[in-house]
């Protein structure tokens, strides 16, 4: 078990320049910055159209100090496969290939290519940064938008369907490593990346990303809201290593703590959930409680 990283021993080298076009208080900026610290200089990135495209900059200025290939919306994973194939032909087995796609580019339009690459066992690391909607194009609903969220195209009734559980889909591909992380817990993200880079096949990361304009909160509360998602047991931090599931970081601590913050606090902190009724919130609370009863039992 490798030692947990803390703020003081987190590498100080930065791979992103300041002054990007990301929104004020963007959660992706935080996760991306720390993620790149874990990946290091010997990395090639693949990015489909998404918030990250804009964060990375408009021609001819790039904000990221790593090589990056912009690709069409559906093809992040296929492009990662292609770069890897070239590296193999050149005998390069050390450069990391990392795809960074949004939730839309992963759970919706990108799912086919990702599933194909995972099935082939293509050896790259894939990050789905999940701000729970097509935020770059103006907050439209995606497969991972949670139920009840008001978006630009679910304006009055909110999303009527459940959030797609993409880590579970990826775990079904029998990957060596699947992780659920959050921008509010960057050190957990860092450690998980470091722990899996040597593992074979596709490594899948799902990162919960608070988004001020998309979720409706004052940007200063971004980390607080990301933490609330975890402390309410609504969004869990975990890893699945060769099929074995375990909660990590703050989620792991909740097993001992046996006390979840009421999920109502999470919903009431964001204006996108303004139409959720008390009944709906109680139902969601019930489902969370059931899920955690399961975790508690497993822990015993």
């Amino acid at each position: 078990m490798q030692a947990k990283t803390n703020i003081l021993n987190l590498p100080t080298q930065e791979f992103v320049h300041p002054g990007t076009r990301a929104c004020t208080g963007c959660g992706l900026s935080i996760a991306y910055r720390v993620g790149l610290k874990a990946l290091g200089k010997d990395t090639i990135l693949v990015v489909p159209p998404s918030c990250l495209t804009v964060l990375q900059g408009l021609f001819p200025v790039a904000s990221t100090k790593l090589p990056c290939l912009n690709v069409t919306f559906a093809s992040t994973a296929a492009a990662a496969t292609g770069i890897l194939a070239t590296l193999k032909t050149k005998g390069n087995d050390h450069t990391t290939v990392a795809g960074w796609a949004g939730d839309g580019g992963t759970s919706d339009i990108g799912l086919q290519a990702l599933s194909g690459a995972a099935e082939r066992g293509d050896n790259f690391i894939y990050f789905c940064y999940d701000n729970e909607g097509y935020m770059n194009t103006g907050v439209q609903r995606s497969g991972t938008t949670p139920i009840g969220a008001v978006t630009a195209n679910t304006p009055f009734k909110g999303k009527l369907q459940q959030k797609k559980d993409v880590p579970a889909i990826m775990a079904a591909h029998k990957l060596s490593y699947v992780a659920a992380c959050s921008a509010a817990y960057p050190l957990d993200l860092y450690d998980k990346i470091k722990s899996c880079l040597h593992l074979p096949g596709t490594k899948y990361f799902h990162i919960h990303i608070p988004c001020p304009p998309g979720w409706g909160y004052d940007p200063r509360y971004g980390i607080k809201i990301g933490r609330l998602a975890v402390e309410t047991g609504y969004y869990d931090l975990y890893e699945i290593v060769n099929g074995e599931f375990r909660l990590t970081a703050a989620s792991e601590k909740l097993i001992e703590k046996r006390k979840l913050t009421p999920v109502r606090e999470y919903f009431r902190a964001q204006s996108r959930f303004r139409i959720l009724t008390d009944e709906q919130i109680n139902e969601i609370q019930r489902q969370i409680d059931m899920k955690w009863d399961g975790y508690y039992k497993k822990g015993e």
Binding site: I7, H17, P18, A22, T24, P60, I223
Partner: protein, 104 residues
């Protein structure tokens, strides 16, 4: 005003700061540090640095005291919210005159 001699025939970008321009112009309030409350300042050694960790714009330096690059700081307020001793306060930009230098 031609670009005929520009080397690349493709969209090929090299990295540098400020792709979004002087993003400091976005903010309506700026972070102000009270060093008497700041943990690394008080201990005069590396400590805390939570503001450095969570800054989305990478405009807070990991120094004693932490310094804010106001050229690019967008004024999100995450540093103020996360500082465990409330050493950082977000102050309305209107309080700062135009003559003051951008870098403090």
């Amino acid at each position: 005003m031609g670009t005929r001699n520009y080397r690349r025939k493709t969209s090929h970008s090299e990295h540098g700061p400020g792709d979004g321009g002087r993003t400091g112009s976005w903010r309506v309030e700026r972070p102000v540090l009270d060093q008497s409350l700041c943990i690394p300042c008080k201990r005069n050694k590396e400590a805390c640095f939570i503001c450095w960790l969570y800054c989305p714009e990478i405009v807070i330096s990991r120094t004693i005291p932490p310094q804010f690059n106001l050229e690019y700081c967008k004024g999100c307020g995450i540093c103020a919210e996360e500082c465990p001793t409330k050493a950082i306060t977000m102050v309305d930009e209107a309080h700062f005159s135009e003559q003051k230098k951008d870098k403090e």
